[in-house]
């Protein structure tokens, strides 16, 4: 018998082992839900899949009586718009701050301490301030996401910029490059794939801030809906919404990873240094 540390599953076994926990959880839910529903058909805590299906069909295909919109799609569109804008702003700001503080010691000297302090401020504690300053509209929600993840991206890219071998910067100088030319042709293009990695890591936090902001003040959005229907214990809506958010998060991560591979083959294939 080999040592446990040297035992690895075959590809087929790996797939099975990976699926196993999902199947077990599913089974557990089905059994528990069934048991509760037999006892009390009006139970709301663990709805059957058919009940969830009905609820989602209603939200996704029947116009709402109040606004005439398809609630599910309207929620999705609003949330994605907020998240997309927030992340985009954070990515652009983070890239610029990270590159300049990472590459220019003079900028770093004046900005890095500030950046460190800002990154320690809990963004959610700023939410009331954002509501006061920007009102309860879209701006405050987008601002929360942007403020929440910009420091992380900026510090990550600052580090990535400093990891670019000094030899490359010296080489560019011996070829006559100015600071601008080095930033534009040597540093910036090498930061793009790292920015995508950084955004992938910060999307989780992005969702957190989005749902928090929507829960507190919004009139639509995935987070808003979940917190709204909580009052009626509508698990048949909450659970599919959570699954939908998870699926969206997974898809974004996958798209970003794929685009990194396609757009920057030199990075994905280990040519980064």
């Amino acid at each position: 018998m080999k040592r446990l540390i040297n035992l690895a599953p075959s590809p087929a076994a790996r797939l099975m082992l990976g699926l196993l926990p999902f199947l077990l959880l599913l089974l557990l839910y089905l059994v528990a839900s069934d048991a509760r529903l037999t006892e009390n058909p009006g139970d709301k805590l663990l709805p059957a899949f058919s009940q969830m299906g009905d609820a989602m069909e209603r939200l996704a295909t029947e116009p709402s009586k109040r606004s005439g919109e398809l609630v599910f799609w309207q929620d999705t569109a609003s949330s994605l718009q907020r998240l997309g804008l927030g992340v985009l702003i954070a990515a652009v700001l983070g890239l610029l701050v990270g590159m300049f503080t990472g590459a220019l010691p003079m900028v770093s000297a004046s900005m890095s301490p500030l950046l460190t302090v800002i990154s320690l401020v809990p963004p959610l504690a700023l939410l009331p301030i954002l509501f006061i300053v920007f009102g309860l509209g879209e701006v405050s929600k987008v601002a929360l996401i942007a403020i929440g993840i910009t420091p992380f991206i900026a510090r990550d890219l600052q580090q990535r910029t400093r990891e670019i071998p000094a030899e490359q910067l010296v080489k560019a100088q011996t070829l006559g490059a100015s600071t601008t030319q080095i930033l534009v042709r040597v540093v910036l293009p090498q930061l793009f794939p790292r920015l995508i990695d950084s955004v992938r890591l910060s999307l989780g936090a992005g969702w957190l801030f989005l749902i928090a902001a929507e829960a507190i003040a919004a009139t639509d959005g995935l987070g808003y809906r979940i917190f709204l229907v909580r009052r009626y214990l509508s698990m048949d809506v909450i659970l599919p919404y959570v699954a939908w958010i998870t699926l969206l998060a997974f898809l974004f991560d996958w798209v970003l990873r794929q685009s990194n591979r396609r757009l920057f083959p030199w990075y994905a294939q280990g040519g980064a240094s």
């Binding site: 080489k171 011996t174 070829l175 006559g176």
Partner: protein
């Protein structure tokens, strides 16, 4: 063209180089050998401009060498010399763009002529078949060929080579020697090459410098720096001198090794 007047270099209490005086003319090919930690790379960095002497004066054409790298002094490092995110052709073309004002992109005719020029040089170093590959798809020898082409495209007066072939297989290394010698003859530039390999130093180039410590204090390894102990015309060295230098360098290498932890920064 390049003169050193009693140049020395110290990091804090550690003396790396001391009492270096020399005079190099246009078109010379100088190889620098010595044990590791004997300051030959530090000396190259002073020529490059990333380090400055702590004593004495290093002069290029009558003016002190600027304390940052510039287009008159090209460099090839042992690694990380090329830009990983650019293809072979782009790696050379970007060098053309760097030599002009602007933000680093060439357009129209300037781009076409840069491309033509780059293709010509890449042909001379034997990379024509690989122009669309990225550096991580190249072998070590090809990478260094690219680094050399890149360093030469803007026609620097001085080419600095920092153990450029240290990581290559012996066969490839011989090819690279040939290439460097050929380019040196064609362009007439002044070459400084640091090498670990004593033999390489003895037949490549026109002049050999041996960096060595004349004095060594085991109790205070940082007290004395290295200097140029031999300054030889290549081709006029008899086997005996080779043996003497070889054993001296090895002796110093061992001495440095034993006291290493605090020697180099």
């Amino acid at each position: 063209m390049i003169e050193a007047h009693n140049v020395s270099k110290a990091y804090g209490d550690t003396q790396v180089l001391e009492r270096i005086s020399m005079n190099v003319g246009d078109g010379e090919f100088i190889t620098m050998v010595g044990a590791s930690g004997c300051g030959k790379s530090t000396f190259l960095k002073m020529l490059l401009g990333t380090e400055s002497p702590t004593g004495g004066e290093l002069v290029l054409d009558g003016k002190p060498i600027p304390d940052e790298p510039g287009p008159d002094r090209g460099i090839v490092f042992q690694q990380y010399s090329v830009f990983p995110h650019l293809s072979v052709l782009e790696n050379v073309m970007v060098a053309c763009a760097f030599s002009r004002p602007g933000i680093g992109w060439l357009i129209g005719n300037a781009r076409l002529s840069a491309k033509r020029q780059s293709m010509e040089l890449l042909e001379r170093v034997g990379l024509t078949a690989a122009i669309n590959r990225y550096p991580h798809e190249l072998s070590g020898g090809m990478k260094q060929r690219l680094a050399i082409a890149q360093a030469l495209i803007n026609q620097p007066r001085i080419l600095l080579l920092d153990e450029p072939f240290g990581a290559l297989d012996p066969g490839i290394r011989a090819d690279m020697h040939e290439l460097v010698l050929q380019l040196w003859r064609e362009t007439g530039l002044t070459v400084f090459m640091v090498t670990h390999d004593l033999k390489e130093g003895f037949y490549l180039g026109t002049r050999l410098w041996v960096f060595d410590k004349l004095r060594n204090d085991p109790q205070a390894p940082g007290a004395f720096g290295a200097t140029i102990t031999y300054d030889l015309k290549v081709g006029e060295v008899d086997p005996e001198t080779y043996d003497t230098i070889s054993s001296r360098v090895h002796e110093t290498a061992r001495a440095v090794e034993e006291t290493l932890p605090e020697v180099m920064p």
